[in-house]
């Protein structure tokens, strides 16, 4: 399901920006439903695209903590924007999904039916390296455990992933700190780097799998020359030095475990609305809940699954009350899980450094600043105890 990364692949090629239309034709001819970025309702969202014209040419974004605005670029870059409010989980792990339906016949027999097989094969166009890492994380959780999730498995099966490297990080980005970007090196069928300069609007395209190579072979292209490859890798390397945020990752799980009784949670709780925006925009937040519904006769029942958030008061409801009823307990749960216990549960960090949670928090809570604050508090506590600084 995940593209292999060590298959025989052709060398990198250069395509003109206009070839994106041909890319759409090729993908459609191969039966893919193309999903990619488009500007809608004041944001760059993830949607089904019919033509390359729907890509957000010339649109950039202006982001900061608690802020996201579209702006006009002074060029026609198609991917000149950092992460918007949606991620690929909108496609792969949708906000609402049917799980099964059941009918009871007059003699009491119950027949249960699973939903029809997933009809679409998705081509994901414009997947940022941070989001590539997020998809890999969701793979581990939802299909890498002992019980594969059939909804995710169905939607993930047959994906064609076209990554786009970042050359312009946003103010809230910190993929470099989390080791997930801005360079795409695995997990894709095709990886593109957009170049816009005196030599024109073009893309360096690398195939990561045989499936990607097949698609590339149908596009008008020329072998990438040394200068183009250098320019692309320099632009990406340069982007790595211009990240808006950074996160010290060494010892993070221990820091969060040590901070369980920290006075800092009171501080965050005074700012956090427990609105759950962060969990909705986060590309790795996967929590769901189920709802059983029935018709008036009670003979037809269905179970639907929908996104849930650990910030919801009822998330931890047990025996008449919620285990995590205070806002500070719920914020602590989210950040400790994302940066700490995720390692225990799934073998990696849950954070890919996309910065969405920072931009989309209405009160501008910044996960990197919260970690810094916890770290300082722990240092201060250790000094007070007379221990050595770590």
């Amino acid at each position: 399901m995940m593209p292999q990364t060590r298959e025989e692949v052709p060398p990198p090629a250069t395509i003109e920006a206009a070839a994106l239309h041909r890319l759409f034709d090729v993908l459609h001819a191969r039966g893919y439903t193309i999903v990619g970025p488009t500007a809608r309702d004041g944001a760059i969202v993830v949607a089904e695209l019919d033509t390359a014209d729907e890509l957000p040419y010339g649109i950039g974004v202006d982001t900061e903590a608690g802020r996201y605005r579209l702006r006009d670029r002074d060029d026609r870059a198609a991917f000149g924007h950092s992460a918007g409010p949606q991620s690929w989980k909108s496609v792969l792990h949708p906000a609402r999904a049917p799980l099964w339906s059941a009918d009871r016949s007059p003699d009491g027999t119950v027949v249960v039916r699973e939903p029809a097989e997933q009809q679409h094969r998705y081509a994901l166009l414009g997947v940022r390296p941070c989001d590539l890492a997020a998809i890999a994380i969701l793979d581990r959780i939802l299909v890498g455990g002992r019980h594969p999730d059939p909804v995710y498995a169905g939607r993930r099966d047959g994906n064609l992933i076209i990554a786009v490297e970042c050359t312009e990080p946003g103010a809230t980005c910190f993929c470099t700190s989390m080791g997930t970007g801005p360079h795409a090196d695995s997990g894709f069928d095709l990886a593109m780097t957009e170049l816009l300069d005196d030599d024109g609007h073009r893309f360096l395209v690398r195939a990561g799998t045989a499936a990607g190579a097949e698609v590339l072979a149908e596009l008008p292209r020329r072998p990438a020359d040394e200068a183009t490859m250098t320019r692309a890798s320099s632009a990406v390397a340069d982007a790595a030095t211009r990240m808006g945020r950074s996160m010290p990752t060494s010892g993070l799980p221990d820091l969060l475990t040590d901070s369980r009784e920290s006075p800092h949670w009171d501080d965050v709780a005074s700012r956090c609305l427990t609105c759950g925006n962060c969990t909705m925009v986060c590309p790795t937040c996967f929590c769901t809940t189920t709802e059983d519904v029935t018709d008036l006769t009670g003979d037809h029942a269905e179970r639907w699954r929908r996104w849930d958030s650990c910030f919801d008061l009822d998330f931890s409801y047990l025996h008449g009350g919620s285990v995590r009823s205070s806002g500070q307990a719920r914020y602590r749960q989210w950040i400790t899980h994302k940066l700490g216990t995720w390692h225990d549960q799934f073998g990696s960090s849950g954070c890919v450094g996309c910065g969405r949670c920072i931009a989309w928090c209405p009160t501008g809570i910044d996960i990197t600043q919260e970690v810094a604050a916890l770290s300082l508090l722990r240092l201060a506590a250790e000094s007070a105890d007379g221990k050595d600084d770590r």
Binding site: L99, W100, A102, R104, G108, T109, V110, V111, V112, E114, I141, L142, G145, R146, H147, P148, D149, P150, V151, R260, E261, F286, C287, T288, T289, T290, D292, V293, T294, G298, A301, R303, D308, C310, F315, S316, Y317, L318, H319, V323, R324, S325, S326, A329, Q333, T336, H337, G340, T341, D344, Q345
Partner: protein, 285 residues
């Protein structure tokens, strides 16, 4: 302690219809149901594991097995669940009738790993409905009685009327299990102990140096029971408890059952006390 080793015999996401073949009223709010499967392979449940039970059209809850199918007896292929009516779904399951259909997904979770106690004394401590998930432990031990040393069963109940499986308790006592029962509130004619269940631990006959303890009940009860067992010299590494958190999937997808680093549907519900103890001390974890 082992994780479930057998693959799911039923789809992890879709509840399979099982027929209720018997319903026994245990107490004012608890019943024991036996479920039978009309067709298809039998899921291999181990003691301590749970199933997600669906009351079609109402909802789904995790319920531990309180009795396992006998693999050697086709007619005895029943899943047994003891259900207490505490919410809408469990009330619907509790009120179900013989012949009705209930959806089953599973097995999920870790097992008590009874076999690891072979050659040692077995100490089972149950609080309230916590006796239900422990019942398969007694069955497993008594099925291979010579392999175990002293077998102790200590039970705490709210009142004598809330005691589960009273006939079986008598049979186990006759089969050589030390059965100690205490209630929070006695009723007229009650001649047994009155008080909290940890108070029974000092008078139970077992060798803490060669014992494994299996404890299930409300968290507070488990903590103080663990303390009393440790006071007698039983190490936390040979003490297992069954933890509970809300579950919306049982299969590791929904994120609800987290307790710190543990996903209780996958790393629990049976957890070594050495691992659980520090987590249980943190408020609102």
């Amino acid at each position: 302690m082992s994780t479930s080793t057998a693959p799911s015999a039923v789809s992890a996401a879709v509840p399979q219809p099982y027929r209720v073949v018997s319903r026994r009223v245990d107490t004012a709010d608890t019943v024991t149901l036996e479920l039978a499967h009309d067709a298809g392979p039998w899921p291999a449940f181990a003691p301590g594991q749970f199933a997600m039970l669906t009351a079609y059209g109402i909802g789904e809850v995790p319920i531990s097995l309180s009795g396992l199918p006998d693999p050697d007896d086709d007619r005895a292929r029943r899943l047994t669940h003891t259900v207490r009516a505490v919410g809408a779904v469990s009330r619907a399951l509790h009120d179900t009738t013989v012949g009705a259909m209930i959806g089953v997904r599973g097995p999920f979770g870790t097992s008590w790993d009874v076999g690891s106690a072979e050659g040692q004394d077995v100490v089972v401590v149950a609080g309230g409905i916590g006796l239900a998930p422990l019942r398969p432990v007694l069955h497993a031990v008594l099925a291979e009685r010579p392999r175990y040393g002293n077998v102790v069963l200590l039970i705490g109940a709210r009142t004598p009327a809330d005691l589960l499986y009273p006939d079986e308790l008598l049979r186990w006592g006759a089969a050589g299990v030390q059965v100690g029962i205490t209630v929070d509130r006695p009723a007229d004619g009650w001649t047994g102990h009155v008080g909290v269940v940890p108070a029974l631990i000092p008078i139970a006959r077992f060798d803490p140096a060669r014992s494994v303890a299996f404890v299930c009940g409300p968290e507070v009860m488990m903590r103080f029971t663990a303390q009393a067992l440790r006071d007698r010299g039983l190490p936390a590494s040979r003490l297992r408890i069954s933890l509970e958190r809300t579950m919306r999937c049982g299969a590791g997808w929904c994120g609800h059952c987290q307790l710190g680093p543990l996903l209780l549907c996958r790393d629990g519900p049976v957890v070594d006390y050495a691992l659980a103890e520090p987590l249980m001390k943190i408020r609102e974890l």
